[in-house]
Structures are given as C-alpha cells and as structure tokens.
Amino acid sequence: MNDSDLWRSFRSGDETAFSMLYKSHIDMLYRYGHKLTVDTQLVEDSIQDMFIELWNSRKRLSDTDSIKYYLFRVLRRKITQHPLNRNVAGAGAEISAFEHRFFSVSTESELIDTESEQGRSRALGRALTQLPPRQQEVVNLRYYHEFNHQQIAEIMNISLQSVHNTLQKSMKGLRELLSGYSEIILTALVLLIFH
C-alpha cells in the first residue's frame, strides 16, 4: 500500500491503517524527536499527542503523498513550540546536553586513538556530532531521512536558501573533520577504481 492509500484508509477511520501508520513511522519520529530535545518524556508525549490529534481530526485532514514528511512537520512544531521545552535546537535556545544526547562521549585518550581501524571509525562516527546542532538537524533530514531541500525548508520553517547554505556549511565542516583520516581511506578507493 502506498502512502496516499494508507492515508486515505486512515482518514476514513480504518483502525488497522492507523496502527500501520504508527508502526511504520515511530522509529524515525523517535529518532528525529531526540535531535530536537534532550527530554525523552517530551519526545514521547509529543508523539503520543500528535497521533491522538491525528485520529481525532482525521476527517478534516487533506490528502498527502508523503506521510513521513507530514508527520515530521507536525512533530517538529509540537516539540519546538512546547511551553515546557527548554532545549530546542531550532529556536536558538541554549543546547547544553543536546550534542551529547545518547552519544557516548569518549575520553581524550580515545580521541587520539586514530591508529586502529576501530579508533578511526569511532572518531568518524563522532564527527557528525561536532557540527552545530542546527547543521546536524539539516544533515540528518537530508542524508539520513532523505528529504529534499524544499521539504526540509518546510519542516524547519526556514527559507530554501538557508537550507542550501546550511548544507554547504555542514559539508565543509565534515570535509575538515574528515581530512585527518582521508589519506588512508582514499588510497583504498583510488586503487579500487583503477583496477
């Protein structure tokens, strides 16, 4: 069943469709919610409220061909505009623990340990978290959730231009973070291509 059909079934009051809607999106919504706040309870409450409201207002909803996009937009608004939220990435608020949310922060000794394969992949894995939170969010929406620029602009309520700029800036940042490891990685590929 494609998104349009699932959405229509749900709007007509089909409980199974509603449950499918939840099950197929809960993982990505939960992950995205945690990019916006450190408050797990707020994420869970917002997701719960969002689905309750969806059900209760299903008759008034319009068609959509991307449920994921629709849900992300609603969830972001719910979390960032929540009166009790003190840790919003997009609202320009101070994001203290945000970057450390569920990432293990390693001690200095590990950071320097780029000699081993393990140490390198750990360092790489952390590179993303070294970007400013707003860049992390745009990168996450673009590359992990694979939204297009227009959708990202709508979800985050920012201009198309600022999506472009933020992505460009993020990639420059990643390039710098990667440059330390690139030599080793690159050699491998160059060999691969020319053989």
Binding site: Q41, E44, H100, S104, V105, T107, E110, G125, Y143, M171
Partner: protein
C-alpha cells in the same frame, strides 16, 4: 552539469551524486565511473565526497525499544477516544554532587534480569563517558559494560546494571515532590542513591563500596537481603567466596576512583596488586619472574592513558625491566 569545477562539498550536496552514493543504480554507477575515468584527477575529491555523504547519512541516535513503542501506542489508544486534556507530570532535576561509592564485585559471566535495555561497552584499555536520559553522567572503565532499563522518564525508578567498573555522577530527580531513586545492580548487591557521585567496580570475586559524601543504601542480593546504610568515607567490602562483609572507614576515598582521570593513585600498592590492575584494564597476562618483586610497593600517581606509558612509569619507579610482547607482559628484576 559541469562537475569539473566541483569541490568535495559541492559533490556531497549534489542530489545526483548523493543518489549514486546512497542508492546506486546501473545508470548512476556507469555515469560516475565513466566520469572518473575521464577525470582521474578528481578521484580523491569524489571519494572524499562519497565518505562525507556516507558519514552524513549515518544516525547514531537511539531507536525506541519495543516497550517504549508499545507504551506510546497504549497512550494513543487511550487518548484517541477521550478528548481529555492530559496534565503532564514534569520532572525537575537538580544536579547535586554529593557522594562517592566504590564497589568491587566479581567479574564473571553472570546475568541479571533480561528485558529491553540499552548497553554500553568498553574494550580493554578504553574508557568512555555516557550521558543517561536523566542527565546522569557515567564514566565507564576498561572492559566494562553498563546496561540501562528502557523505560526511564515514565517510571519512578532509574535502574542500571553494571559489570566492570564505572563512576556515576547521578542527577537528583524529583517527580511529584518525591525524590526518584537511582539503582545500580551488580551481581552481589544493589546500590540505591538519590543524587550523588559514586564509583562502582565489579571485578575480582568481591564487592567493595566506598562512599565519599552523601548517603547510600546497599542491599545484598544473597538470602539475607541485608541492608546497609553508608556514611561518607565508609568502605564496604563483600567477598563472594567467603560471603563475608567488612566495613571500614577511609580518610580519603579519592584514590579509589582516580582511574576516571586516566591515572592510578597508588598508596603502598604491591607489584602483585598492580599486575592484577594491568591485567583487568588492558587484557594482557602479567608475569612477575621473581617472587621477591611481588611485594615491592609503589607510592604515587601513574598515567594509564595507554599501557606503554604506564609500564615506562613503573620501570622508572622500581628497579625492574618490563617486556611487552603481544598479550604478554613480563616483569623482571634489574641488577643495579
């Protein structure tokens, strides 16, 4: 599209390039490999851009456990037919640095309760810091694992399970005016606190708890279910083999957890004791060739960032030579 003038970040933000990296098709594969053959000087840029896209498409964030998924769904089911406004109970937390506990427990292959948990592990020679959902910071020592129950934030209890050693800086948490307790489960006992700093180490067939400040409750897991209330400076020792409990008082507990700052504070530590620490931290075998050396004692602070530095430091303090081959460390006497 003139890709020749592209920098790596331009490739990485190009939709056609991204679709090749993330979802290659025969067409995109052919296009980019042909392009590379015609423009070999761009191979490095292309690969760098590819790595950037791959990295950007990773997500280290956490998936909700099945319990969480079910719980949220239950809430939706309950809520969708009633239009009642739900008043949320909010959690207020205050960070309080208070007590320090050190706990030594056996390091064996045992299991606590099963269920949905997140776990964090460290390899030999590695330590890492983990921030829990309530703001509690845990420093995990080498070769240790910490498991965290999945239903935090809703239930009134915070629970973790530890094997190995960890230093906890627990956030004080209040829910509806009640302090929410934080429990560390080990094979031998449960440590209950409400907002404190403490160190838990589960190695060697014993459990040792040192408390520097604040209050901690211990409950033994054996049949007696004995409960102990600890005061600052108290050291509780529970030997699993002997099933015996000792309590004594330390004037300064800080050397017990200096490992978390990548150093060991040694106070009259014998070489035999240090050998055990090295084995547990770096996963190597340590052999002391001369029995008389085993009782040599060391005082001072030694670095533990890596084993090489530590062994050099020991060589400079004691009349010994240390050889390190693969996973074997051998300590010999040095003729003066």
């Amino acid at each position: 599209m003139n890709y020749l003038s592209f920098e790596p970040e331009d490739f990485a933000t190009d939709a056609f390039f991204c679709s090749w990296v993330l979802h290659p098709t025969p067409e995109t594969e052919r296009f980019w490999l042909d392009w590379l053959r015609n423009n070999p000087s761009k191979a490095r840029d292309i690969e760098l851009a590819r790595q950037m896209v791959l990295l950007a498409s990773s997500d280290e964030g956490m998936s909700p456990g099945s319990e969480t998924v079910d719980r949220i769904w239950q809430g939706i089911e309950e809520g969708k037919n009633t239009k009642v406004v739900i008043f949320r109970t909010r959690v207020i937390w205050l960070k309080v640095a208070a007590a320090v506990v050190l706990l030594l427990v056996a390091f064996g292959g045992y299991f606590y309760r099963t269920g949905q948990k997140h776990s964090y592990r460290t390899a030999f020679g590695e330590s890492r810091r983990v921030l829990l959902p309530d703001g509690t910071l845990v420093t995990l020592n080498a070769n240790s694992s910490l498991r965290v129950a999945d239903r935090w934030g809703r239930r009134t209890e915070r629970e973790v399970w530890l094997e190995g050693e960890a230093f906890f800086s627990v956030s004080k948490l209040k829910k509806e005016g009640q302090a929410v307790k934080f429990t560390v489960h080990t094979h031998d006992l449960n440590v209950e606190v409400r907002g404190t700093e403490f160190n838990v180490n589960t190695r060697q067939d014993q459990t040792q708890v040192v408390l520097s400040e604040g209050l901690v409750h211990l409950q033994l897991n054996d049949r007696s279910k004995k409960e102990i209330q600890m005061k600052p400076g108290d050291l509780v020792d529970f030997s699993r083999k002997k099933q015996q409990l000792h309590i004594r008082h330390l004037p300064d507990a800080s050397p017990m957890y200096s490992w978390k700052n990548n150093r060991w504070t040694l106070n009259d530590a014998s070489l035999a004791e240090i050998a055990v620490l090295i084995r547990e931290t770096y996963g190597v075998t340590v052999r002391i060739e001369n029995d008389s050396l085993k009782n040599q004692t060391v005082n001072g602070v030694v670095p533990t960032d890596n084993m090489g530095d530590l062994l050099n430091a020991l060589e400079s303090i004691l009349p010994i030579t240390i050889t390190h081959e693969e996973q074997r460390v051998t300590i010999r006497g040095r003729p003066d």
